[in-house]
Point group: C2
Chain length 155, copies 2
Amino acid sequence: MNMTFESPQDAEDAFYDAFEEANLENMMSAWADTDDIICIQPMREQVKGREAVSQTWQELFASDAKVEIEIHHQHWLDAENIAVHVVHEQLIINGDRKHKPPALIATNMYHQTEQGWRMLLHHASPPPPPPMPHAPGMTPGVSPGMVPGMGSQRK
Amino acid sequence: MNMTFESPQDAEDAFYDAFEEANLENMMSAWADTDDIICIQPMREQVKGREAVSQTWQELFASDAKVEIEIHHQHWLDAENIAVHVVHEQLIINGDRKHKPPALIATNMYHQTEQGWRMLLHHASPPPPPPMPHAPGMTPGVSPGMVPGMGSQRK
């Protein structure tokens, strides 16, 4: 199926519909037809190019888990033929709405091509941990336990 | 200081120099002069706008830790006046090169403005965990332990 998306939102809807349906063909139709596409799944290495991006979704869709996704838009950016949506992805696994995993944060970048709007980049990452009583001046991504002495050096 | 960056790479160099020097003024000079800027620190909520982005770096720079950063470019994207660099950020804390934390993955997006190239978006996130023997068909960001029953349902 080769669809033409009139807006970044149309491309985004197609992307998440394909994600929910585990439909690889529709998923790849939401991406630009170029090897300049980049996909970063949470806690995975980045991949670039249609073959590698297709492969990463194929692996994901191999799961038997039924995934529903609620999208909550956080920020939008528009610059010429580029649009960026920062969203929270609330996954619901096997219909279990009582035990939702923490929502992921994703940056989705779209490009207006001759075939309409298509996804150029998807970078999804884990959400913040639950709030802690007091954690000032931390280095991002570096928890005190990861670096010997950090977190205890403040004067 | 208000600098003009002739290329996305110049803006990126200024960004990481300011990061290493914990220099808030230089850091904010690397970002576009618009409230459409977005910053996602690892495991933190996204923030938008110059005030919020400045605040997030100010908090980070409050640490006494001396941070050096080695940047390893993974992928570049160019589209009109937009450039995207996907990089690995290898942090070195307090000069300790023997115990480096795992490198972060970052998506950096730059925009060509009337004041030269500036950062529009920074999304940094944790790296993949160490390789596991066999983990097929996992939902990204959802470890088997997070969702009851997942990981044991494959037929």
